[in-house]
Amino acid sequence: MRLYGNTIINNAEEEFGHSHMESPYLPSLGIIERSIRVSEKERLFTINPSNDSLLKYRPGQFYMVGLPGYGEAPISITSGPGEKKIELCIRAVGNLTNAFHNLRKGDSIWLRGPFGRGFALEELEGRDIIFVAGGIGIVPMRSLLKAVLARRDKFGRLTLIYGSKSPEELLFVEEMDDWRGAGMDVQLTVDKPSLGWKGGTGVVTTLIPKVETADKNTIGVIIGPPVMYRFVILSLNAKGLGAEDIYVSLERRMKCGVGKCGHCQINSIYVCQCGPVFRMSELKGMPEAI
């Protein structure tokens, strides 16, 4: 053992050329059990993990999901904690994600993780919660909703406000009756309604003022495209929610998941380690965050 500065480096026990340390870049396999198209651009994958440690996740965490020959990207988990299969809902936007869409039952996928800090459900207990999801922000939100609804009696009033460009792009609509039945108010809004649309029209912030928050026990959870946060935060502030009461999950570019590659850095923090879930009060003094 040798001491350099403040770093202790252990001698590699094997012959030189290899270390005995486990590589954090080595993925585990997942086998695709089901791949279904859920909208024009998204598919929902049900994955059987080869390794149980992959299943130890909290809502809001993510995996680095990869394919040989294509690379890796951070993908948030959409299944609920405790489930035996992993669900990922992936939008086809580039080479890698298009390659995911070509996978079928029995094909394998590479997974590393789960990474990051998810939602601490204990912190949310006893509170009324407004969940605000925009676009594919519903994907990680679904994991949280499942976790909350599984212990519905621990929480106060629950409201989901979910917006997308058009009714056709809304995801998990077929599950929403169950969510409503379990005791959550679900309100939908779209930018461009189509014939027969019964939900709201306009951005998600149009629905926030109508939510009941009189007893000051409400927290907000926001997951959506980057442009959405600022406006939703202002709307929630107007309802009396402060920085301590607002949770966000932030998207960033990521290449490693282990706090090294630098891509997800916001001011002094790494999103892959400190996030992606943050209380707004934790992002104070970080102008790059929102």
């Binding site: 290899h18 590589s23 993925p27 980057p226 570019r253 590659c261 630098g262």
Partner: protein, 337 residues
């Protein structure tokens, strides 16, 4: 240690190690692989590229796979190597890299290589861009196995590890320096110290706080307007460790590798996500990020600046953005507030 003793040391090291050192390349000091001690040029101006390339290479394999067999394995490549002629700032840079790659989730690729690396430091000759002294980095106490101070005749040698001491006793003859040799060493050191031309106008302890008040400074727009976004500053920096990871498939379309390569926050796509949103759209934002990473963002985690004062970024900048000038402008703005 005599000149002859030093040659014996290098020859001894060459038998069982790959040896890299400061040589002259096209009239400039550079790190290069050595096959004989005569090629070494000690007591040089700074090299264009830092020594990080030997611990954190520009391209390295993390995984190797076979898509037909469906197999994949982690790759951790390292071999015994010796780096000779690293200046105090270079060694300070490596010390920071050691901490980064050991922090949190350890990076076995870096650490395995570091473990097999012997570092032999050497004296420097500051140029117009060097400002390590003002950051307290012109002397180094740890992070090397041997440090060589060039004298008129032979070297004054310091050992920094047991391995260094063992190497010396194995390969070279040394004796206690005479009072005159010590005096010569002190004179040479004083001469070097008086030859620094650039310095930052604040102490290293004050800089994180000063930088924390610079987010709204006009300096970012000013340098952002001339920055070409080439990323040279990132490439040459001894403490820039950001990387990209991508897959490279062989022509047979069966075997492939996942590799990591240097990346840089000054490059346009660095913070861009799949949907097309760029979290740092402008060059001003990207430079503000880079400078803050050197002087502020990492100081909380590592209790150190991440600029060692080597001046490489200023030296390499195509449009002459100078890290000392920028920092001093921020110091001025802070003092005038």
């Amino acid at each position: 240690m005599s000149e002859k003793g030093f040659k014996g040391l290098v020859k001894g090291l060459l038998k069982t190690n790959r040896v890299y050192g400061t040589i002259e390349k096209d009239g400039f000091p550079a790190f290069g692989e050595l096959s004989r001690p005569e090629d070494l040029v000690l007591s040089t101006r700074p090299t264009h590229l830092s020594a990080k390339q030997f611990l954190f290479p520009q391209r390295e394999v993390l995984l190797r796979y076979d898509m037909k067999k469906g197999s994949h394995e982690a790759v951790i490549e390292s071999g015994k190597q010796v780096l000779i002629g690293l200046h105090p700032c270079d060694i300070k840079g490596l010390n920071l890299m050691d901490r980064v790659f050991a922090h949190g989730v350890p990076d076995p690729n870096y650490l395995a290589r570091r473990e097999q690396t012997i570092v032999i430091g050497g004296d420097c000759v500051p140029d117009d861009y060097c400002f390590c002294k003002s950051l307290g980095n012109s002397e180094v106490e740890s992070g090397f196995d041997i440090f060589l101070h060039v004298l008129g005749k032979g070297f004054l040698v310091r050992t920094g590890s047991d391995i260094g001491a063992a190497l010396l006793s194995e390969h070279a003859e040394t004796r206690e320096p005479s009072a005159r040799e010590f005096q010569e060493f002190r004179e040479r050191r004083a001469k070097r110290d008086s030859s620094f031309k650039a310095s930052v106008d604040a102490s290293p302890e004050e800089l994180p706080e000063i930088y924390s008040k610079s987010d709204e400074s006009g300096v970012w727009e000013k340098i952002g307007a001339i920055c070409t976004g080439c990323g040279s500053c990132n490439n040459v920096c001894p403490t820039c460790y950001c990387f990209d990871v991508k897959d490279e498939v062989k022509a047979n379309l069966v075997e492939g590798e996942r590799v990591r390569t240097w990346d840089g926050c000054a490059l346009e796509d660095f913070a861009k996500v799949a949907g097309g949103h760029n979290f740092r759209k402008t060059r001003a934002e990207r430079l503000r990020h880079r400078f803050n990473r050197k002087f502020r963002y990492l100081s909380g985690t590592f209790d150190s600046l991440f600029c060692v004062g080597c001046g490489r970024c200023s030296r390499a900048c195509l449009v002459k953005i100078n890290i000392v000038d920028v920092t001093n402008e921020i110091v001025r703005e802070y003092n005038n507030k």
